[in-house]
């Protein structure tokens, strides 16, 4: 779990837990109602590169609180900015009034300190981006191409949340994550556009620099550009696809995980909703969402409704084990929450969603998985994807792929897409490797306008029957 090393103080040292408990208890005025109070403070620093230099540094912060009343017929949510205890205490009353909260005065008010990230952290992020820019500038393709486009972005976000429920619980959690993302576009031979992307994430800027040094990112970009330059046309048609360790987790996150979210299932938007308890894949396939794993971007001690985090098995030995629920979907489905509630901020309602989602290790040697294939596609990096959770149909860009021939990975191939169906893809998982790896930590998941950090993981894995379609570019 992230350790508290920054100077930001726990919210519960600044807010009276008894006050929060009273406010939350006041929300459940009627029998059967549930209410909770969510208090949040965010300190954020972001550095955006302009070309190869850190050009814009954004520092900001603020806080707010929201109450929610939950009943079988729906939810009422009222959010106000600021951490003023009196204002927080008045939230239950505001939530019951149709008119909603009145604006607070923004007239001159003063305090001794602002809600900003500490200068050392901002400086560390900027220094990281500067070093990254220098490393990328040394990549031959970028150094020689005047028209190269380089997009650098790094950020540190420290979020503190307190959840007080009408059932008497009051918990606090701190989530800190530093991440970076780079995208480069250069002109290759014959005017072909070559693109490469890389990134990384860690609990703080110092760990980011250690776990994902700028030189390693530059090396990945250099290799990706070189391979793109010499890529052969992708094989097309229905082929066995080997998903390299780490990257294919994105496919399971999008094509399976979202379909196992309780809200989608309750709205008839999940191809998996009617398959609970059924065997849909090999007994070597187990898919888990685990927010307790150390050092991953989706990790947290509590979810955003105050439930203590715990691993949740979504697919157990090939059988659909269950859905992710927050309190609202659990209430409607007449089941228990699974600690899967996430909200981007106090301004948003919680949604059931993934944290760190991964396929567990299987019995096969990763090399054996490739060796067993006379012809296929090896996917080393996936890009953007589209998934219809109702049908589980998906399409993903393959940013970096290789031709498999004669049981060997033989050559990089040009960008292509893989298309298929999530349910059938699970059925078609043929071999699972023993080399579980997680993504680099720069990923985010978007759902209904709310962003959330999420990690994906997977060992080398072979799926048969996916369609490989050449990219039109």
């Amino acid at each position: 779990m992230p350790t508290d090393t920054s100077p930001d103080l726990p919210l519960l040292s600044r807010l009276d837990p008894a006050l929060l408990r009273r406010a939350a208890a006041a929300l459940a005025a009627r029998a059967g109602d549930y209410g909770d109070l969510f208090v949040e403070e965010v300190r954020q620093a972001e550095v955006r590169g302009d070309g190869l230099e850190p050009a814009v540094v954004v520092a900001g912060g603020g806080g707010g609180a929201a109450v929610r009343i939950l009943s079988p017929l729906g939810q009422r949510h009222t959010a106000v900015d600021g951490l003023d205890p009196e204002r927080i205490a008045s939230l239950p009353r505001l939530a019951r009034e149709q008119g909603g909260p009145e604006p607070a005065s923004t007239a001159a008010r003063t305090t001794a300190s602002g809600p900003f990230p500490d200068p050392a952290s901002v400086g560390a992020v900027a220094a990281y981006v500067r070093e990254l820019g220098e490393a990328i500038g040394a990549i031959p393709q970028i150094a020689r191409e005047v028209g190269s486009i380089v997009r650098l972005r790094a950020e540190l976000r420290v979020q503190r949340v307190v959840v007080a429920s009408s059932e008497g619980e009051v918990v606090e959690d701190r989530r800190a994550w530093a991440r970076c993302a780079v995208r480069v576009v250069v002109a290759g031979r014959g005017g072909r556009i070559l693109e490469a992307a890389a990134g990384g994430g860690a609990r703080d800027p110092e760990r980011l620099a250690t776990l994902r040094p700028p030189a390693s990112i530059a090396l990945d970009l250099k290799r990706a550009l070189e391979e793109a330059e010499h890529a052969a046309p992708a094989p097309t048609g229905v082929l066995p696809v080997v998903l390299g360790p780490g990257v294919g987790g994105l496919l399971f996150h999008e094509a399976c995980g979202h379909g196992l979210e309780g809200d989608r299932a309750l709205r008839g938007r999940s191809a998996f909703a009617n398959l609970i308890g059924e065997a849909v894949g090999p007994d070597t396939l187990t898919l888990v969402d685990d927010p307790t794993l150390d050092g991953l971007s989706g990790s947290r001690r509590f979810d955003d409704e105050g439930w203590r985090s715990a691993p949740l098995v979504l697919i157990d030995a090939g059988r659909i084990a269950g859905l992710m629920h927050d309190r609202a979907t659990a209430l409607r489905a007449r089941t228990a929450p699974t600690g899967s509630a996430r909200r981007e901020s106090y301004r948003d309602l919680p949604l059931p969603r993934m944290t760190n989602t991964f396929v567990r290790e299987g019995p096969h040697d990763p090399e054996e998985i490739v060796r067993a294939l006379p012809r296929g596609l090896y996917v080393a990096e996936l890009g953007r994807g589209q998934v219809d959770t109702a049908s589980a149909d998906f399409a993903f860009e393959v940013r970096r792929g290789y031709l498999i021939a004669g049981g060997r990975v033989v050559a990089p191939v040009a960008p292509c897409r893989i298309e298929g169906n999530g349910v059938r893809a699970i059925e078609s998982v043929a071999m699972i490797g023993s080399d579980l790896r997680f993504d680099s930590g720069s990923g985010e998941c978007g759902k209904e306008g709310q962003r959330a950090r999420a990690a994906v993981g997977q060992p080398t894995l072979r799926v048969d029957g996916l369609a490989v379609v050449a990219d039109g570019r």
Binding site: V56, G63, H77, T78, V80, P101, F116, R332, R347, A390
Partner: protein, 462 residues
């Protein structure tokens, strides 16, 4: 704001700009549940105020900081945070107005320009009144009244959905926001704007139907037509009808001479597909004139995309992007509107609203090609790959001849170079309508002639 500007001056900043956004909002969501379950209602009310400060220091480096205003904050703290953030190692360069600034940074450009433009700006409040941006009834109706209006959309889907589509969710949101802007150059402006937003998401209830989201925005909730929005969503969602019979029997007008009318919603799909190239300067060059004229318009009355000044404090305007099919401008740093979705965001250039100039073709006039007959398209999937080719696929369309409907044209598609598609726009209608397809888009129907021969077999991946 004055205190922050004074603190910035005291700290040695040569230019400073304060942006404050203060607003309230309500979002009501209706989710008709699966059979046997009562519908789920979500009502969310928010209140948020925040400030952003941009500064240019003596060395010409730009800094940016933001803070929520729900808690007290000392002006000096905001200034300190912004001054701490200037990027290290950047060589300053002189800005046009003599202020030291980093001219290749869009936000710094905007900051310098805001100072320079201050003298000639009409008071924003006056302009805001002219733009009619405020609905006095915003946020005054009760939740139940809003939910009752949402039932208009539910009823329309029940009436017109042919039991092939279902409502996933309907969302109605309202917001009332006050914007304040002050610069070290003397600009002191503010205005208020209200927003009403409608979103209807449909999901398939039959094979071949599609999941779609249809959205509308206005400054007034009363302007939003739930039934109209639901009807357009249904047309985009319903399964395609078989076009084979009309085409196979030869009853369809000749593919070479056919006149095609994209009804306004289908035309909006075309504008949305063209937008990236129109905004980036990559608009294709055409050989013969087209009737397509496209504006980026931030001063349309009654629209939430309008404002008296943009996110960098500069007066807003209407800019021609495409005239007669030929590109005349593009969205670029320093030359366009700066958008600022939140006080937490740096200003970034982008379109306010994309508006196609209307013409004289009478709304509802049936298409009649040179050889007689035409095709009316009410819903289409239009995809334009940058620098490559476009495809137009009819989701819902009909052949017409002599004022009579011949039969469906669903599933037909065209492909070719973007230039040919733009050249084919030969007439615009007198029926402009507003849609929210990513950006706000206002377009009338568009008449296409001389496009190419359609195809019936869908390519893989379309």
């Amino acid at each position: 704001m004055e205190a922050v500007l004074a603190a910035a001056r005291q700290a040695g900043c040569v230019a400073a700009e304060v942006f404050v956004k203060d607003g309230r909002g309500r979002q009501v969501t209706l989710e008709p549940s699966s059979a046997g379950e009562p519908p789920c209602r979500l009502v969310s009310r928010t209140r948020e105020a925040g400030a952003a400060l941009r500064v240019v220091d003596r060395d010409g480096r730009a800094g940016f900081a933001w803070a929520g205003l729900g808690d007290p904050i000392a002006p000096a703290d905001l200034v300190d945070a912004a001054r701490r953030s200037p990027a290290p190692g950047r060589e300053p360069a002189p800005a046009p107005d003599g202020l030291a600034a980093a001219p290749d940074l869009a936000p710094a450009d905007g900051l310098a320009a805001a100072d320079a433009a201050t003298a000639g700006v009409a008071p924003a409040m006056v302009r805001a009144l002219e733009l009619d941006l405020v609905d006095p009834d915003c946020l005054r109706s009760g939740d139940d009244a809003v939910i009752e209006r949402m039932q208009e959309g539910v009823a329309e889907v029940g009436r017109s959905g042919e039991a092939m589509v279902e409502i996933d969710r309907i969302v109605v949101a309202e917001a009332s926001t006050r914007f304040h802007f002050a610069t070290s150059g003397g600009m002191r402006e503010s205005f208020e704007r209200t927003l009403a937003m409608l979103s209807i998401a449909l999901v398939p209830a039959a094979p071949e139907a599609r999941a779609v989201v249809e959205e509308r925005t206005s400054c007034r909730l009363a302007d939003l037509d739930l039934a109209e929005c639901a009807r357009e969503a249904i047309l985009r969602s319903l399964p395609e009808r078989e076009a084979g019979e009309v085409v196979a029997t030869g009853a369809a007008p000749s593919a070479e001479t056919i006149e095609i009318v994209l009804e306004p919603r289908a035309a909006a799909s075309l504008v949305a597909a063209l937008a990236p190239s129109a905004l980036s300067g990559g608009f294709p060059e055409i050989r013969r004139p087209s009737a397509l004229t496209l504006y980026d318009d931030a001063i349309v009355a009654g629209r939430p995309s309008s404002a008296p000044f943009d996110g960098a404090g500069r007066p807003t305007s209407r800019r021609i992007l495409v005239e007669g099919g030929r590109p005349t401008g593009r969205i670029e740093p320093g030359g366009a509107h700066f958008l600022r979705p939140s006080y937490r965001d740096l200003p970034a250039s982008g379109p306010a609203a994309l508006v196609v100039a209307p013409g004289v073709r009478v709304s509802g006039q049936m298409p009649e090609g040179a050889s007689g007959g035409g095709l009316s398209i009410r819903a289409a999937i239009i995809d334009i790959a940058p620098g490559a080719e476009w495809t137009v696929r009819v989701r819902r369309g009909d052949f017409w001849n002599d004022g009579k409907r011949l039969g469906p044209a669903d599933g037909l598609f065209w492909e070719g170079s973007p230039a040919r598609l733009i050249q084919a726009v030969s007439e615009t209608g007198d029926d402009p309508r507003w849609y929210q397809c990513g950006p706000s888009i206002c377009t009338p129907s568009l008449t296409l002639r001389g496009l190419s021969t359609w195809r019936r077999e869908a390519r893989a991946g379309i």
